[in-house]
Amino acid sequence: MSDWVRLDVKKLSPATQERIHGVDITVVMSPYDVPEAVRGEYNKHLRRFVIEFRYLGDEPWNVVKQDENISLRVARHSGRLYGIEVNIDAMEASRVNLRLEVPHLVMNAIDNFGRRSRKPMRFKNYQVAKDAITQKKEQIFESLAMA
């Protein structure tokens, strides 16, 4: 199993100044909404390339199918994004193209899920998940070349 890659949580969830009920305050995303680490590897048992996020809390998740190639792991209670499963075996692409295509497909899948999600308050979590993938793109998709 590949190692977890730690994320820069400060960059993913910077503090912002807001005015709530006429009061100026500093707000930060809940620490439970921001992934602490990410990893990506080919899972031989599932026969999928899997990207996983690690959060402060643990929750059971469900697999939500997006299309014939991509499924998302969505937390049962909070609706947070816990992972993405990509069926690279079914994709007729060379290893070089996989490293170009898969990140693009993953980002689109997250965007589409966010638009259709029944939990709109989780939109920021999905955005942070995309930023996390962008932040550690090289490390996450490194193993695609060897899959």
Binding site: V9, V23, T26, V27, S30, P31, E59
Partner: protein, 257 residues
């Protein structure tokens, strides 16, 4: 605040009673198979036990079940002792630079959201954040609870606002409030902390910087952790980041509480 000794004694008492009830159930069950005529000494007792087994066995079984529920509701004492330890550690880490000032000037308080509050107050059924544990060994007799209703506009205090927004909320550089403070200062402090001036006047000491952090258990919002300090500059966004060091363990413990 949770009274450790009282709840710990209650937990152990219920556990002991559960054992005794279990032994009684085993005895009653075994007695139904005994031949009362062969027992000269306890023959009458045995007969009585056999005649009432139809009632006593289900009652004792039910009693054991109820006691188990009571123990689960109270929570094992070691869980809350460990929660207190974690809050102490968080207090040390967040307020490391304030080590020279008294401990109770910089605190970490854990609030649990309860739907109903057993207290003489308005709207006891509206949803309240009740203090259940605090760092340190003083200022533990606090009864300050904050309204956290379904209508988020009515959320009270830093704790209530943190609950309503489900985000980290930081308020700093609050005015120094004391007995001779003007109404203007009181009103300003009250407005910036979402409490009333009357609420402030009922209490003697007031912190000058706050940080509220939502606490989750199994993916559901459970309560709020509030950092407060009498130093107006002691708390910033880095204080909230430190929470991640204990947050995972706190969540696991509160699953058992």
């Amino acid at each position: 605040m949770r009274r450790h000794r009282l709840w710990s004694s209650l937990y152990h008492s219920v556990a002991s009673l559960q054992w005794i009830t279990g032994l009684a159930l085993a005895s009653f069950s075994a007695a139904t198979k005994a031949d009362a005529t062969k027992w000269h000494v306890a023959g009458d007792v045995l007969v009585w036990t056999q005649q009432n087994a139809w009632l006593s066995v289900p009652l004792l079984t039910g009693a054991i079940g109820l006691m188990q529920l009571a123990r689960a509701a109270i929570g094992p004492p070691w869980v809350w002792e460990t929660v207190h330890y974690l809050l102490d550690k968080l207090q040390e880490l967040v307020f490391e630079k304030e080590a020279a000032s008294p401990l109770h000037y910089h605190r970490v308080t854990l609030f649990k959201r309860a739907r109903f509050r057993l207290s003489m107050c308005r709207w006891p059924w509206s949803g309240w954040l009740v203090p259940v544990e605090r760092s340190g060994h003083t200022t533990r007799k606090s009864r300050s609870a904050f309204l956290a209703p379904d209508d988020a506009d009515l959320a009270q205090g830093i704790a209530g606002q943190t609950w309503a927004q489900n985000r980290v909320v930081i308020v700093r550089a609050l005015p120094d409030i004391h007995e001779t403070s003007s109404l203007e200062q009181l009103t300003d402090y009250a407005r910036r902390t979402w409490v009333s001036a009357e609420w402030l006047q009922e209490r003697q000491q007031h912190a000058r910087s706050f940080c509220g952090i939502p606490v989750e258990v199994k993916g559901k919002l459970w309560g709020v952790l509030v950092l407060d300090s009498r130093n107006p500059d002691a708390i910033d966004e880095n204080s909230a980041r430190v929470y991640s060091l204990i947050g995972r363990y706190l969540g696991k413990l509160l699953e058992r509480a």
